[in-house]
């Protein structure tokens, strides 16, 4: 089997003395779509921040491919980061820049292109997320769901190898949400992108996830992982089953 894109070894995450999660072990295979799920406030966003180096684990180590990310020096780290795209839970668009300029930031940073070219790429990325024609709007002038999508356009600006999404579909209508799933599958198809998504949307999880990580808020650790189908058919514990079936209500 090929080397995993990301490996987490016994990660412990904490804010000061408040431990969020203990002893997380998982692997994310290249080209797979991995969903991080769990109850609200269990530490999904925090895990994502650890994976992209915005926070340092209290214990344990994260590997990108075979190389350690946690122990890497700044130079190596920024080389890793060059290949990833991230959307944050709150969008995190630069409020003083228009949507097109927002998408252009990574393009200008990494590529040496003429402004016209940059603009064309930005327009194309915005069109992909259904925001054609909004190039010259400022983030304050569009809706929350549109901001989410614009942030996604910025994250995929450089065709990254690895994409991290924090609740991309929260606040989106069902159609946009389905479109987003389609876009993610398409990106994986055409570019072989590895995708790590934090989401609660069961529809999305069943539609796109290859692998799920279930963070349990009470146990403070990873209590289940596997494909969503496996997890429903052979649930390793009751809580993950309830989570995936809306407390046993629906779905067969």
């Amino acid at each position: 089997m090929s080397t995993p894109a990301i490996t987490a070894e016994s990660i412990t995450m904490a804010y000061g003395s408040f431990v969020v999660m203990n002893d997380l072990n998982f692997k994310i295979n290249p080209g797979s779509i991995c969903v991080i799920m769990g109850g609200s406030g269990c530490g999904k966003s925090t895990l994502l921040k650890h994976l992209i180096g915005l926070k340092e684990p209290a214990a344990g180590e994260i590997f990108y491919g075979k190389e350690s990310f946690t122990k890497a020096d700044r130079e190596t780290r920024s080389n890793f980061l060059r290949k990833i795209g991230v959307t944050y839970q709150s969008g995190a668009l630069f409020s003083s820049l228009t949507l097109a300029e927002n998408v252009a930031v990574p393009l200008q940073k990494e590529l040496n292109l003429k402004p016209k070219k940059v603009r064309d790429i930005a327009s194309y990325k915005l069109a992909l997320v259904g925001l054609a024609g909004f190039e010259d709007f400022y983030p304050a002038e569009i809706s929350g769901g549109m901001r989410k999508r614009a942030a996604l356009a910025r994250a995929i600006a450089l065709d990254p190898d690895l994409l991290f999404f924090d609740e991309p579909s929260a606040g989106l209508d069902p159609l946009s949400s389905a479109r987003l799933d389609e876009l993610i599958l398409q990106l994986r198809e055409s570019l072989g992108t590895t995708v790590v998504i934090v989401t609660h949307e069961l529809e999305s999880i069943f539609a796109i996830a290859d692998h799920c990580l279930y963070l349990d808020v009470d146990e403070k650790t990873l209590t289940a992982q596997g494909s969503p189908k496996d997890l429903v058919e052979n649930p390793p514990n009751d809580r993950v089953y309830k989570f995936l079936t809306r407390n046993g209500q629906s779905r067969t």
Binding site: V86, Y88, G91, V105
Partner: protein
């Protein structure tokens, strides 16, 4: 039981009666938020006691009854009593079940208010040391970023820089001018009253000139800029932090220091000396106006007298101070912004911190300057 439940619109009441291990809680009347009775004391609940409810004479209820029962349940649980909710109406039972479904989290936040004075003092000291360390690190990072910038390793965004220059420089002309002129006026006015007594009116020019060039020009400008630009820097960077924009910059491989802090520090250190020169000039004019009007000193007299004391050394001292003050204001503004928490109140606190810290630092630095200059004899 007392007056419970006689009429439909009676006030809410709750009574407890206990006998042989069972406590009956009888509620009656109209339960409305804001008009609820206090939770009664259990006379003898002990471990294994049973608590039953009777709400048959409650005429109407809202959340107040649920809150009451929950509080009661909490107290009863503490004493180890068993609560029997079967007698409650179904909908009320459901609400209570929902409220109790997710057990209270051990967040470690409960024991916060119980800290002793010594603990709190110790924590404040540690906090202060922490902040100082962070400030030094911040300054170091800034130095590294500036070296990178001059080596051309950080792209410099000219458009944003021009905007900053405009905001911190041109935008402050009116307010700095107004305050400086008035400072000059006041100095001349106060000085003239004293100097008149000795017939030394003409020395008002020396007084105003020296004070403005050495002290007031740079000090007043710095204080205005602390309130104007320092606060703006902190608020801007703080709200970028709240909106995860700083995280986004970091993962895009753009150093927040080089991108956000450095341009601000450079813009302010370029603009503040100029503003301070401008303030000195206007202050001297303000002083001249008063000398002219109340002391009858002509403009030429005023200027000639001024020239005997205000020389290039005095001016350079003022400008040099303005330069240092600018670094202090810009760095402390950006530092507070970068350390801000992620909610609206935290951004507000960061802004306050920025202004207060800058002003304290300015005054401390000015005192150090005064001592050093007096030792050096300049």
């Amino acid at each position: 039981m007392s007056a419970a439940g006689k009429t439909a619109a009676s006030p809410a009441t709750a009574d407890v009666s206990c006998d042989s291990g069972t406590c009956r809680v009888v509620c009656a009347g109209d339960w409305k938020l804001g008009e609820t009775p206090d939770v009664p004391q259990f006379p003898h609940t002990s471990h294994g006691n049973k608590i039953t409810y009777d709400v048959s004479r409650v005429t109407s209820w809202d959340s107040s009854l649920a809150v009451f029962l929950l509080t009661l349940a909490g107290e009863a649980r503490d004493t180890g009593a068993i609560i029997d909710t079967d007698a409650l109406p179904k909908d009320l039972q459901h609400l209570l079940a929902l409220a109790l479904a997710v057990p209270e989290k051990e967040t470690g936040r409960d024991d916060l208010p119980k800290k002793s004075f010594v603990t709190r003092t110790g924590e404040s000291v540690l906090d202060f040391l922490d902040t100082t360390k962070a400030a030094i690190t911040f300054f170091g990072q800034l130095m590294i970023s500036s070296v990178c910038l001059f080596r051309g390793r950080i792209p410099f965004r000219m458009r944003e820089f021009y905007l900053l220059i405009q905001e911190t420089g041109v935008g402050a002309l009116t307010i700095v001018g107004l305050v400086a002129t008035l400072t000059g006026l006041i100095l001349a006015f106060v000085g003239s009253v004293q100097l008149k007594q000795f017939g030394a009116e003409v020395y008002v020019a020396d007084l105003v000139g020296i004070s403005m060039a050495r002290e007031m020009g740079s000090l007043m400008t710095a204080i205005i800029m602390a309130g104007r630009s320092g606060a703006a820097f902190a608020a801007h960077i703080g709200s970028m932090k709240a909106n995860e924009e700083i995280d986004a910059l970091t993962t895009l491989g753009i150093e927040p220091h080089g991108h956000l802090v450095l341009p601000r520090v450079i813009a302010l250190t370029l603009m503040m000396p100029l503003l301070s020169l401008y303030a000195t000039f206007l202050g001297i004019i303000g002083g001249g106006v008063i000398s002219n009007a109340t002391l009858g000193i002509s403009w030429s007299q005023y200027i000639v007298e001024m020239q005997t004391v205000v020389n290039i050394t005095e001016i350079s001292i003022g400008v040099g101070k303005a330069f240092v003050f600018a670094v202090l204001v810009a760095v402390s503004g950006c530092f507070s912004g970068m350390r801000s928490g992620t909610d609206a109140a935290a951004v507000g606190r960061a802004t306050t911190d920025a202004v207060v810290n800058s002003i304290v630092l300015i005054v401390v630095a000015d005192s150090i300057f005064a001592v050093v200059f007096s030792i050096l004899g300049i």
